[in-house]
């Protein structure tokens, strides 16, 4: 090491990057690398969607409820073709596709999205507890970059998860009506906006918390209602009207709707243009609020 005290002081040769965005990539990359460098965690991230799709998707086998083998009326002897026709009609009119598994698979994309975003929000509580957050706060990195680093890494992670779910769903027999690049890109664009908004929301909720148990409770209170009060698992038109109203404001519904329209060719519960507009509004609003709150809440 060089001698003399001048070497210990800030030098012009440091080539300091003083932009507001500096450090954002470093913080984002830290999170992503943490998530994927441990073999067991990588295994879990792949296996979790398999289990969910396999269990949920196949256990909720609503298709077989209506299939010809499962019901008939004694004495009437309705022809098999009629029954098949009938059940297919019923499924089509209820779910917008004759295959409930495909219907659910799209919902599953948002399901993993919500959970991945939720756990990313939790990680800021750990950073606070282990002192990492305090160290970062002592550096010239922008407060907004601290929050956006969390949000972006969570978006990337949920993207990867969603892609895995889609691949597995296709392997397990999801019938994709419109398997075009545009359809997939469109779906993931919608998922991107949804993840951006959701991560911002969950990170915001965790900003001031030092207690992960409390945080877990809040998250659990939010995530399942968020999913059930949407069209992710069941079509909204069969819900009571008050629940339909909730589903109509729930951004998850719009993300799912884009996926169903683009991948399954189902009739939408709103137009594609409105879906995207709603998701864009949700993402912009929540990430903006997240950045503003980070300035206020991260410095006491």
């Amino acid at each position: 090491m060089g001698s003399g005290q001048s070497t210990m002081h800030v030098e012009e040769a440091d080539k300091l990057n003083k932009s507001v965005m500096h450090g954002l990539w470093a913080l984002t990359w830290r999170e992503i690398r943490k998530a994927y460098q441990t073999p067991i965690l990588v295994f879990m991230t792949v296996i979790q969607p398999v289990i969910w799709l396999g269990l949920f998707g196949k256990a909720f086998n609503l298709g077989s409820v209506f299939s010809s083998g499962s019901f008939n009326i004694p004495g009437l002897n309705i022809p098999k073709q009629v029954l098949d026709q009938l059940s297919s009609q019923m499924l089509q009119s209820t779910f917008g596709t004759s295959d409930y598994f495909s219907f659910l698979a799209v919902g599953m994309l948002t399901f993993v999205l919500v959970f991945t975003c939720m756990f990313s929000g939790m990680s800021i509580v750990w950073d606070r507890r282990f002192g990492f957050l305090e160290k970062v706060l002592g550096t010239p990195v922008s407060r907004g970059a601290i929050v956006m680093g969390k949000v972006l890494s969570s978006v990337v992670k949920s993207f990867i998860q969603a892609a895995i779910v889609l691949v597995i769903a296709v392997l397990l027999g999801m019938s994709v009506a419109d398997f075009s690049i545009a359809g997939i890109l469109g779906t993931f664009a919608a998922l991107f906006l949804l993840a951006l908004g959701l991560s911002s929301l969950f990170v915001m909720l965790a900003l001031r918390s030092t207690d992960w148990q409390q945080q877990m409770a809040i998250m659990n209170l939010l995530n399942l209602p968020l999913l059930f009060a949407s069209n992710a698992l069941f079509p909204t038109k069969l819900m009571p009207t008050w629940l339909q109203d909730v589903a109509k404001v729930n951004p998850i519904s719009y993300g799912v709707d884009v996926g169903r329209q683009l991948l399954l060719g189902s009739p939408g519960f709103s137009s594609l243009a409105f879906d995207f507009a709603y998701l864009l509004g949700f993402a912009v609003l929540f990430s903006a609020v997240g950045i503003v709150l980070s300035w206020k809440l991260l410095s006491k």
Partner: protein, 344 residues
């Protein structure tokens, strides 16, 4: 020769100026109460006090993590409230906790810190190696931090705090929870930083011997106030002599009246179950005190003579020993957590 470099700070310009800094937490007492001091370039100032005295709060305000309720401070010419980003750029912070990311390597952690300062990789990569060498971690730099011992972690934190070549380095309880051997090693690094690199330091500690061994200036802080500030030698001298402690068998004896008349004795103070006497030339004063009491028919049951130490200084200015001090639970929890991790 060395003496000269060590004392050079006394005429150097101030790096840090703190004026009437105060922090009041909602609904609580003042955590930091009207604190003022300066640190000159190359000086090591130690904030000495028990848990909850306001040391960490002071550091958090100066490093711009906490906003002061009132008062001001300037580091390297930048006001901590008006130019927080500039302040963060020129200071280094080594917090009390272990803040390194356990899933990353030691080297990776230092480079990550550099990224947060906006230092380009072409500068930070070689500098990280250099700093690892400085804290003698070059052999373990590519190992994950989760495999490090407490002492290694502490050294890594030190290296991270130096990545931006700070003009002022904050060390919050640098040896908390470390064993005696590792503590001595950390002291060695701190001395090297001062002597070889002319580093300016503000450290907090609740170890008296640490403050005495490392600091040029000690500020004793108690209940948010600086109760005494000065060089360790000055503080000891300010006690005004040696300390004799005696216990007397008779509970009703007018010890204070009798002892005060003994030549060389400067003051007598009744403590719990014993008397604390300040005297010049303690070796001569002690037998005189015993003699004076015996002449009035009282019996001295116990006696001790102490030359002033930092312990005595602390007791004198805060009215209690460091061990007695109570801390708030949040801080105790944090320290336990740090100590638990230090022992791994």
């Amino acid at each position: 020769m060395e003496e000269q470099t060590v004392e050079k700070w006394k005429t150097a310009p101030a790096v840090l100026t703190v004026e009437h800094l105060t922090k009041v937490f909602e609904g609580k007492m003042k955590a930091v109460d009207d604190v003022s001091f300066t640190i000159r370039e190359g000086e090591i100032l130690g904030l000495l006090g028990p848990n909850g005295a306001g040391k960490s709060t002071t550091i958090k305000m100066l490093t711009t993590v906490l906003k002061p309720t009132s008062g001001r401070a300037e580091i390297g010419g930048y006001d901590i409230l008006k130019h927080p980003t500039e302040v963060r750029r020129i200071v280094g912070v080594v917090p009390q906790e272990y803040t390194a990311d356990e899933d990353m390597t030691g080297h990776g952690n230092i480079v990550l810190c550099a990224d947060l300062y906006g230092i380009s990789r072409s500068v930070s990569e070689p500098r990280a190696r250099e700093l690892l060498k400085l804290v003698e971690l070059e052999a373990s730099g590519d190992r994950k931090v989760s495999t490090y011992s407490g002492g290694m972690r502490r050294r890594l934190e030190l290296a991270c705090g130096l990545i931006n070549r700070p003009r002022l380095l904050f060390l919050d309880e640098p040896t908390l929870g470390l064993d005696v051997q590792t503590r001595a090693a950390v002291w060695e690094y701190i001395k090297r930083l001062k002597n070889e690199y002319g580093m300016t330091l503000l450290m907090t500690t609740h170890y008296l011997e640490e403050a005495g061994a490392l600091c040029d200036t000690i500020a004793i802080i108690d209940r948010g106030k600086i109760v005494k500030i000065g060089a360790p030698e000055e503080l000891k001298e300010s006690l005004g002599g040696d300390i004799i402690e005696i216990a007397v068998k008779e509970a009703d004896a007018d010890v204070e009246g009798i002892v005060a008349k003994v030549p060389l004795v400067k003051s007598v103070k009744k403590m719990e179950g014993y008397y604390r006497i300040k005297a010049e030339f303690g070796e001569e004063a002690t037998p005189a005190v015993i003699e004076a009491l015996r002449a009035k028919g009282f019996h001295v049951t116990r006696i001790s003579l102490t030359k002033p130490s930092m312990d005595e200084v602390y007791l004198e200015y805060t009215g209690r020993t460091l061990r007695d001090a109570q801390a708030d639970s949040e801080e105790v929890r944090k320290q336990r957590f740090t100590m638990m991790r230090a022992r791994r």
